[in-house]
Symmetry: C2
Subunit: 290 residues, 2 copies
């Protein structure tokens, strides 16, 4: 089972210019974001939380879609085949093998996905996986224009209303696209195969990277870049700095603009470029403002 | 890529008697454990936490092993093949496909794994995935006898010291086996191919099921049943009641006997019998006692 035609399509999209842009981004220095707190943990698998979730939570929200074999994918290919190995009758138990492309369903883009030497998902320290979660709502403009992007101005407007974006946070884009997940409007490809859905503008991630130093960005669409992007500008600017992205996130409309804590259940397969992740948000009482 | 010889071995292990035992367990009624709280959530993906983690956490512990292609497996087969689809040079990005047997590495056994109609991992309500975590330390007897089992008496002793096992909790067995994960002693198979490692005694899970009504059990070994088990008695008594199990759990020695909260990052692949999971424990201050 391979991905017919995908390689060609991808090579066409990733022009030489974009390859150089990626290299330039790398030259800019793949600086590691500061850990949530000084690494006073006794082991790499352990982290002090004082600064992160020293608060009481009232509810939890699952930000994860159920993945089926026909879950929509960026390249339009089938990314999951479930092979039956054993069945209860006659074997006495059920067991399957997944043939699964990493970047399917609600999943992580690890730094290594778009860089030659960034961290793979299993290498991300736990301190980067338990972070403040903030949500920018661009549903109104996304409804008017499927090619809308989350811009620097959207972030400035959010900060005027909700205060400074917390350091080390995950900044999530709620474009309302999650509701389209089981319809053709999720990929929203036109007659030329060009997709139309929202994403992060490269200037917005520049700001989150240089001025706010957040750990991750999340989208409720199929890509960190908006659908028509031909150069993956946001992927190349963000991931090589050893930060992570999350795509096809669900239920963001159940969260307050700030105050929630995100637990990133990303995979620990050695060397993986990302992969299916269970995302659970813990929300304090009241309106969640902190 | 198939699992050579496995089917034969499995059919031999699962005798008719065991098949009937499983059926009997099902007839006994696959009762659902009570949710963490009354389902006052606005959606299935959301749950109120008041009774669960209305407390402050001081640290987090990752209970998840890194999975490599040669990670030890119950049947001794290679359960993971990583196929390279794209590489940064020349494609401009890295992307792989996993060929992965669900029950590999730190992973969940969903009720459906050992029952014809139990819940698959994606069907488990969020209320069953955010639970109090308690740990029984049987390292001393496991060091003397690799076939040691966590018994009802071990649970009674634990309760005399630490109080009643919390309803809806996950009860974890710390046998010290996690430290052996990269050695032959993890499977610890003898010259006849019989494995020797600790697990839960069926009487212990009977008690957790009938008297304490916990949601899950976890082991730091390759099976909920101890290595020499020929009948999967614990799997068949536990999973068909729509409770879950977790195998090959790491870092349990970093946790207090009680007081931690477990966030179960199990997969949401439709119909899956379980699968790779990211397990993160949140631990309150002090000694973690609640």
């Amino acid at each position: 089972m391979c991905v017919p035609g995908t390689r060609e399509a991808v090579l066409k999209q990733l022009s030489r210019r974009d390859f150089l842009k990626a290299t330039a981004a790398l030259m800019a220095g793949a600086m590691l974001p500061a850990p949530v707190v000084a690494a006073s943990a006794s082991r790499s698998e352990e982290v002090e939380l004082a600064g992160v979730i020293g608060q009481r939570f009232k509810r939890a929200v699952d930000l994860t879609h159920v993945i089926t074999e026909d879950f929509p994918t960026y390249f339009g290919t089938q990314n999951l085949d479930i092979e039956t190995l054993f069945t209860f009758d006659p074997n006495g138990f059920n067991m399957y093998r997944w043939h699964l492309v990493e970047h399917t369903g609600t999943h992580m883009d690890a730094p290594f996905h778009f860089s030659p030497d960034g961290m793979s998902a299993d290498q991300l320290p736990l301190s980067m996986l338990i972070v403040p979660l903030v949500v920018v709502d661009i549903r109104e403009k996304a409804e008017e224009n499927p090619d809308a992007q989350l811009t620097l101005e959207d972030l400035r407007r959010w900060e005027r209303r909700h205060g400074r974006i917390p350091k080390d946070a995950c900044m999530a884009m709620n474009s309302g696209w999650s509701d389209k997940v089981n319809t053709p409007e999720f990929r929203n490809a036109d007659s030329n195969g060009v997709m139309h859905f929202p994403g992060f503008h490269v200037e917005a991630v520049e700001f989150l990277l240089e001025e706010r130093r957040v750990n991750g960005i999340a989208v409720d669409t199929l890509s960190l870049d908006y659908g028509p992007s031909a150069d993956f500008a946001t992927h190349y600017r963000w991931l090589p700095t050893n930060r992570w992205g999350m795509e096809a996130v669900a239920n963001l409309d159940a969260l307050p603009p700030r105050g929630a804590t995100l637990i990133v259940g990303s995979p620990k397969i050695a060397g993986c470029t990302g992969g299916i992740s269970r995302l659970i948000a813990l929300v304090p009482g009241g309106n969640g403002d902190d």
